[in-house]
């Protein structure tokens, strides 16, 4: 079992003919993902890799193919608009890989997305992968993952791969790996994923990979304490990062969003989350708790 995607996932790729979009679409197809449609305005009528029909608009693609998830690989300045187009077409899940979207674009986009009852994952994230269902939506390398019962949620990209790699090599498979993205404003946060993993009968334990900045991990820890009965282990990257280099001004400080590693680890501790000191710790820590 898995969260957010499964064997019924019918994927649409926005920006399928672009450089990034075409590269990763081939990877997703290779992994076994059911890509049913692509969208690139002006390229409607073409066929991608001799099997995926390309449409001019998302609306048209959804009506023609019954796609139920969209993944977005369009340039930063058009990406928020692509999210809106997907949400407007009624897709219940939209995954935005694009990095570099102005935060104000996302701030304007989120109320629309929420108003349509759409789940957005990202932006600036590696997407998600459900190994058992062979559903890869995004850029997480399929070859490092293996089917299993550990749920993984992370703000990071390559650090996630590092941890997943440890799991797979130790014979611990994953139900779903979700990269929620590192941008200030994201559609799906730790709590959303924790709730889904808690409710997923295919998940027995959860790995959380956080970073310094913000309060999302602290809030997640409180959620774990109150609502998660499955074992959770966690890591915070940036323990040695210099403080206040990016936001060292009154605004960040008085808004209380500095989010140091110490604060986050203390919150993990208080919630009974197993703390990984090194990425490699994930294996032993999970084994001791499952």
């Amino acid at each position: 079992m898995s969260i957010f995607v499964d064997r019924d996932t019918r994927l649409l790729v926005q920006g399928i003919t672009g450089r990034e979009g075409s590269f990763h679409s081939r990877q997703m197809l290779e992994y076994g993902t059911a890509i049913v449609a692509g969208v690139t305005p002006g390229k409607g009528g073409q066929t991608f890799e001799s099997r995926v029909p390309v449409f001019n608009t998302v609306d048209e693609a959804v009506r023609a193919t019954g796609a139920n998830v969209s993944v977005i690989y369009v340039p930063p300045m058009a990406a928020a608009a692509a999210v809106v187009e997907a949400a407007d077409a009624g897709l219940p899940l939209v995954v935005c890989i694009t990095e570099g979207i102005p935060v104000m674009h996302m701030s304007r986009t989120m109320p629309f997305v929420r108003g349509r009852g759409v789940r957005l994952i990202g932006p600036n994230c590696p997407g998600l992968i459900a190994p058992e269902a062979r559903a890869k939506v995004g850029i997480i390398p399929g070859n490092i993952c293996s089917p299993g019962r550990v749920g993984m949620v992370s703000r990071s990209g390559t650090l996630t791969y590092e941890v997943v790699n440890h799991l797979t090599r130790a014979g611990i498979g994953q139900s779903t790996c979700v990269g929620i993205g590192g941008d200030p404003i994201i559609g799906t946060n730790f709590i959303d994923c924790l709730r889904a993993f808690q409710n997923d009968p295919g998940t027995d334990a959860i790995v959380m990979i956080g970073e310094i900045g913000g309060t999302d991990e602290q809030n997640a820890a409180v959620f774990v304490r109150e609502h998660v009965t499955k074992p959770v282990v966690g890591f915070i990257a940036g323990q040695t990062a210099p403080k206040g280099r990016r936001m060292g001004h009154a605004g960040a400080i008085i808004s209380g969003s500095s989010g140091t590693a110490e604060e986050k680890l203390a919150a993990f501790e208080a919630a009974g989350i197993g703390i990984m000191r090194r990425p490699a710790d994930v294996v032993d820590l999970l084994r001791s708790r499952m």
């Binding site: 990095e99 990071s156 001004h249 008085i254 969003s257 990425p279």
Partner: protein, 379 residues
Amino acid sequence: MNLHEYQARTLLKAAGIPMFEGDVASTPTEAEAIARRIGGTVVVKAQVHAGGRGKAGGVKLARNPAEAMDEAAQILGMTIKGLTVHKVLVVPAAEIVTESYVGLIMDREAQCPVFMVSAAGGVDIEEVAAKTPEKIVRLPVDPTYGLFPHQALRLAFVLYRDFTQVKAAARIMEQLYAAFVNNGASLAEINPLVTAPDGRVLALDAKVVIDDNELFWRPDLGVLRDDSAEEPSEAAARRANLSFIKLDGNVGCVVNGAGLAMATMDLVKYYGGEPANFLDIGGSSSPEKVINALKIITADPHVKAILFNIFGGITRTDDVANGIVAATRQFKVDVPIVIRLTGTNEVEAIRILEGVGMRALSDMDQAVQQVVQLARGAA
């Protein structure tokens, strides 16, 4: 991107916000001219991206134009926290009746711009935030609607009783919001917002931070960047499209991905070493990026050993290997390099490295332990 105070003043002034007069000077003579124009006592303030300018002697009072010239001569060229002062701001030493704080920040949790205002403004606002947070009123703004007039008014009533001042402050809230949105800011701050003896409401100090992601399509804002006000290696890295922060250790790090880069620094520390930098070469890394990264890191004389930690996903590890080989051909690297590569095209990468007598590890812990030892041995 942090703006200088004088640049922030210009942006807010353009948005219509009434400012205490004042201007920026690059030479003592310019400072004198500004002081003469203002008349009376002025303050001469160093323009560098560093806190604690006052304590470092970068903010001085001058009672007349001649003193302003002298103080400017002292401050210009001064080094504050490693940054050279190239510009000073000259403003009137205002007679101030009240000092308030008005800040607007893009808030992660609220997912929207949030106003923070307090009647207890000025230099102590951070202490107010820490000790009496109830004195700071927060108001989230839905960016689909913008700041409503009644919200601007409510914020203004937090600061003033007199209705003329309330209306003036409400207008400033609207102008600050407009400046924030139109300039793609992640922070816009007036501290203090003051009342003059004649009752006028004016902005004294301003701070604006621009969202870096806006700069791609806003070249008009990009030109405000002042490379000279930054750590030179960081400016060079930014021009090479590398995300780089200089630190004080001796283990140079080249990593793909910000999270893995931080985790690598953490692991260096875990094994008893000290990272010399944070460096993320990003996802689609070309050999060129690797060359630039090595150039920047080797320019730091403190660096005693260098670690590459690459987990190939989008990043092709063979690109990185090619970059390392090309760099070592272009210039001599005097310190040992430890390479950890795994993922996309790793077989090809290892072949490339072995072709020039280098070898690669596949385990991150092992690689970090090795580089820490090498750095310690060299130190």
